[in-house]
Symmetry: none
Subunit: 408 residues, 2 copies
Amino acid sequence: MSLDSLYAKLTIKTGAKMALIVLDGLGDIATMPQGELTPLEAAKTPNLDKLVASGVAQGRMIPVAPGITPGSGPGHLALFGYDPIEFEVGRGVIETLGLGIELKAGDVAARANFCTLDAKGIVTDRRAGRIATEVCERLCKILSSKVKKVGATQVFIYPGKEHRFVVVFRGAGLEGPVTDTDPNREGLPIATAKPVDAKNAKQKKVAKLIADFYKAALPLLAKEKPANGFLMRGAAHQPDIPTFEERYLMKPAAIAVYPMYKGLSQLVGMVKIEGPQTIAEQFERYIAEYDNYDFFFIHYKYTDKAGEDGDFEAKTKAIEDFDAALPILLGKKPDVLAITGDHSTPCAMKGHSWHPQPVLLHSAYSGSDKLERFTETGSNMGSLGVFEAKYLIRLMQANAKMFDKYGA
Amino acid sequence: MSLDSLYAKLTIKTGAKMALIVLDGLGDIATMPQGELTPLEAAKTPNLDKLVASGVAQGRMIPVAPGITPGSGPGHLALFGYDPIEFEVGRGVIETLGLGIELKAGDVAARANFCTLDAKGIVTDRRAGRIATEVCERLCKILSSKVKKVGATQVFIYPGKEHRFVVVFRGAGLEGPVTDTDPNREGLPIATAKPVDAKNAKQKKVAKLIADFYKAALPLLAKEKPANGFLMRGAAHQPDIPTFEERYLMKPAAIAVYPMYKGLSQLVGMVKIEGPQTIAEQFERYIAEYDNYDFFFIHYKYTDKAGEDGDFEAKTKAIEDFDAALPILLGKKPDVLAITGDHSTPCAMKGHSWHPQPVLLHSAYSGSDKLERFTETGSNMGSLGVFEAKYLIRLMQANAKMFDKYGA
């Protein structure tokens, strides 16, 4: 029996309420320039401290595997309990979700860049001099007004930032992945998309669609300067993922502000709750929706943003802002509460990293690790140890007594 | 190569002596009502403290998988180093072992309940009003004196507590599991046992045996009141498990008081040592048998019993009683000593739980984690980390230098 089927077999629907609060990129590392504290250690967090004093279990989570730095996609899939190595989500899909575009089962989505071609069709600038977003929007409008279909397949084109856009194909019998048309360096012509599995008829169809799309779209850009061409990458279909509700017997809602995280939560069938813009508003909405759902995924972006900027003060402030709003959530405490990140974004690295993120678990049965605060250094000494993020929701379920005893 | 075959390939028979002391349900959680201490933390344990001061490694063990609460069966199989998901032991087998009944390879055992049937054969009370154990014994005697065989298959019937008994089928070509005849609620007739795998001829034979057993046995109870029927559950065969001695090249003995743990140790081929009733007597027997075996499994029940009762004082006292007897064992220290539980039984939960149990390892090569005591909070910081219980005996073997170096 697989471990997942064992969990499924033991699961009891209890109606327990749970909240998973994700401070994006929360984890950090202590380095000399910042006085050997992490932002979580430097931040004043009276409300978190009070929660810790009331009894929590702590630990650290490996987002994917030792040493692997995840993007937001795999980071969140793991948090949602789906092994990101087993459930691969193509880049085209992630990029599309990131723009707030809804995908349907069977859609194939690809990232695209406007580029510059010379008279012979050789790529001379893979990003067309990073054209302004407005130019990108105008060009996408031209393409989408003229190319609505390729054969019987619908085509949707959505602009992103600067030279970036996405292309979505919707029709029967499509499947990714296919190879990129991006030659990956200047001085080469646009490559031909090929099925990754030569025997896969659906991939072949997508490769052919891309070729036909080029035939229809390239002439429309011929007179544009510098963006007279485009390159496509990461064409993939929305994967077949068991829904969160099927998997955990809990009705899930996502209270996120940024489109990417709304999209990722939708990928596993969470209900998107729209409206809130600040973490305080998100927590208020959690209170308002408390009776309507069993599981709340609440996403907070600003810790990651500050980490990406290498801004220690801003990351510390983002944590303090979160802490200031926390009492709203605690006003109606869920049966099980987890606070963590989807990965670390150390200020010293100005980007995502592989360092296990700290995690805190609070329930009537979490026990207390007798630590004073929730920090990276403290969580190293917690009872949860270092574990893979994909087990977090299983531990939350255990804390809600959602599992029958295994064996007599 | 599988990890198990690697271990096997590297194993050297050394004649080292080992003792695995299992304080059943040892692990606990610190919760406010108990003043934020666990029983292990609250107990006065001068002898354990001395052992820790002499140098031990500590850690915590996940009994089966994150969040899974094990019964005694899976808990002990894991301790004995057999992955409990790979080596499933059916409920009927566990229940039978729990009554102190020996099973032979190929036996199929089922749990049974006396129940009450109305004139139409509908189950009106699944437990026959929880009849007294003496009544159960009398009814079992009737059944076992009249139904000794079904076809060529031998039938054995053993009474348990109150309405419970077990039925063992012994003969050629039998295999479980088959579905329960217990309809799981009142108002329904007795269900028909069916093979879980419809193509499995041995399971089919067992399902047929159960039907024939009902034909022979039910009429014998027709005039009884209230126990005029019975329901069968968890019919399963003794699984094919490699013996402990084959697996570890150590001759194992079990010094347990309760039948269930004697049974579980027999499942992997340990020699049952009968007689001792107290932990002091168990340790004395260990001393007496020291030269006759390599590996001693010593089981202590009272920590679990107190945990199940939610009795913090009693659990603390049980640990202190164990500690008081410990010097007897240490009078002839094994080369490798492990002290742990088979799972946690937190007083606050009055039952088994998924919380990793603390473990202590002592040998000439265990090193010292420089902790003052053996506790849940301390073991969070130990050098063994949080690991799966199935690796414990491998670590004990390593501490006895029972493994060759792997590779040059």
